[in-house]
Amino acid sequence: MSTSVTGPAPGQDVPPVPPVSSEAAARRDLDADTRRNLYATMVLSRTYELAIVREYHADKGPGFDIGKGLVPGEMHLSAGQEPVAAGVCAHLTKDDAVTATHRPHHFAIAHGVDLERMTAEIFGRETGLGRGRGGHMHLFDPAVHFSCSGIIAEGYPPALGAAFAFSRRPGNRIAVAVTGEGAANQGAFHESLNLAAVWKLPVVFIVEDNEWGISVPRTASTAIASNADRAAAYGIPGERIEDNDVEAVYEAAGRAVARARAGEGPSLIEVATLRMLGHFEGDAQGYRPELAEVPQHDPIPRYEARLREAGVLDDAAVEQIANEATSRVEAAITFAKESPLPDPAEVLKYVFAEEA
């Protein structure tokens, strides 16, 4: 942690998550329910993405034609990065906003985006979140205040706006904004952190450091080792979580969310995470020297082992979580596949809002 987190100011509306120092957190375990939920969220996300991989590649041939099949277009998967989304979103309610990136599924799932309508969107169906107009980089679920964008770092500024709106209303809703470590070198990152800090907006900024921006390693794009150190440039707390540790993410996010809810302003959290797959499906990753070692760093079996050891999970629980995930995911895929395609005659609709 580069900056110590200040507690809530006296007399302010203190949120449920108690601000704990990281040392204290390290000393005591999370409760079993929380841990099981973190694990289950990660499993759901992974299950979802493996199903998407299956569906995505099912009909791209002969060869690989990116525009073909039930799920065409670029497909950026978050497998390996589930700890970030699970750890952060565990602190949110559906009234909080999340703006995610081109790699959005884990955050969408962890934040409770409607799985069926999200899947229908990815399958380009009329029942999709965007009636097939958005696609996997443009998922909007206003019911849980979720959005994402394909232009890197440009999801940060709208999060400020959600936070701005929230801060003028009763309640202590917050916004979470996500980018990758590559995107942290884009101007929008800087402008957003500064503006949020000057106006003390209730935002939590997340940087997912998976060490790669497509084929460019972090060292070739970023002048310093930890984006958390950039928080000091805005006078806000910055923390870096190493080793893709979901519980450490959970703890750090708890502090940042509490701070935001207390009206004390934004925080920045960078998480060292892992892109298990290519930048997008079809990326052969010839540029990636450590490719062979990637699977052994998979955070899900690792966390599973830890929870088994701690007695939080056993075979039955693991199986139940897996089965639930599978049935939700397959139901969503079935829903999507059985949904109607959009009507091309309606392609001009929704450019402008319908007049009242």
């Binding site: 979140l129 107009r133 909007f140 709208p158 999060a159 959600a162 003028r168 500064n194 000057v198 007049e355």
Partner: protein, 341 residues
């Protein structure tokens, strides 16, 4: 202009009329806020917010850091969460530092969300040259905004329209780019046409988005134009009327959606067309207007149309050079005479 003996219609300059609409909407809807650089105590570099801070305070009239991407994006996020922010980009010329938020986010979210998310936001921005502000501070750029789908674009030329279009823009559930020409604001420190001060209705006043106005009726030639160039076109129309040329001036008022019917109706009558555009000539508004006419009916035009626009040069600083590229009354008159020849 129009005034009655008993209740004289107030005459305001364009900036006061614009501010009046904003203030009226802010009074009835507290989700309306105004964000931008120097919009607070300065009152807007071109007086777009003069007096608003005093009435509404710093919570609703808010000076921002010079971070257009961040604060326009903030406006977008606030709009998707139910507010109706007006966000000012001080000069349209600065679009280059924040166009992504404008054209890939503000303008596309509604469509990408299949209509499920609305972005009821106004992007207010100053346009235009004529006072030697150079190549980076004199552009109108409405052609650029209008080309990119998903945002309405309005461009008032006079005080009443400035008020009525601002009211409509704030109330619209779609993003509206509101482009005010510095030369129509009626600023005390800038040369202005007398038309930048005019009668403005009291109280609620709405000019519908998407409707052009016939600024002057005529029968010989149609001049389609907008913004400050309307003033020049009207000057030319008045001058030529005495010389026996009857010029109809169409003030587009809205660029998106374009009121093609109004253009066609007028050209159907006159058969002659001059498009006057303070934006760059090629790939912009002037071509669109001409194409809209001929793709409807290739026989409508009796003679080739003429375009008076910035001839695809950056806008030069020196007065003599700038006025060689601007659509001046002299250039408009020459074009009208040419289509009448």
């Amino acid at each position: 202009m129009t005034s009655t003996v008993t209740t004289p219609v107030r005459r305001l300059n364009t900036s006061k009329a614009m501010v009046e609409a904003i203030a009226q909407e802010m009074r009835v809807d507290d989700s309306v806020v105004y964000l931008g650089e120097d919009v607070g105590s300065y009152g807007g570099i071109f007086s777009s917010t003069a007096g608003l801070l005093d009435e509404f305070g710093r919570e609703r009239v808010i000076d921002t850091p010079i971070s257009e991407t961040a604060f326009i994006g903030l406006g977008i996020g606030a709009a998707t969460e139910g507010m109706r922010p007006i966000v000012e980009l001080m000069f349209a010329d600065f679009m280059g530092v924040c166009l992504d938020q404008i054209y890939n986010h503000m303008a596309k979210i509604h469509y990408e969300s299949g209509g499920n998310v609305k972005v009821p936001m106004v992007l207010a921005t100053a346009v235009g040259g004529g006072y030697s502000d150079g190549a980076q501070h004199s552009q109108t750029l409405w052609g650029t905004f209008a080309h990119l789908p998903g945002m309405k674009v309005v461009v008032p030329s006079n005080p009443a329209d400035a008020k009525g279009l601002m009211t409509s823009a704030i109330r619209d559930d779609s993003p509206v780019v509101y482009m005010y020409h510095k030369g129509v604001m009626g600023l005390p420190w800038m040369a202005k046409n007398r038309r930048s001060i005019g009668p403005v209705p009291e109280g609620e006043y709405v000019v519908p988005i998407g409707k052009a106005a016939v600024a002057a009726e005529g029968t010989d030639v149609t001049v389609v134009t907008l913004s400050l160039s309307v003033h020049h076109a009207l000057d030319v129309a008045e001058k030529l009327a005495s010389g026996g040329i009857s010029v109809e001036v169409i003030d587009l008022r809205t660029v998106v959606p374009l009121d093609r019917e109004a253009i066609l109706e007028s050209v159907g009558k006159t058969g002659r067309l001059v498009v006057v555009d303070e934006d760059y000539l090629s790939y912009g508004l002037s071509g669109e207007v001409i194409a809209s006419v001929v793709e409807t009916d290739v026989g409508l035009l009796k003679v080739p149309p003429r375009r008076v626009a910035i001839p695809d040069t950056p806008i030069p600083y020196a007065h003599v050079l700038e006025y060689a590229v601007l659509p001046t009354a002299a250039r408009i008159e020459a074009a009208v005479r040419e289509v009448m020849a």
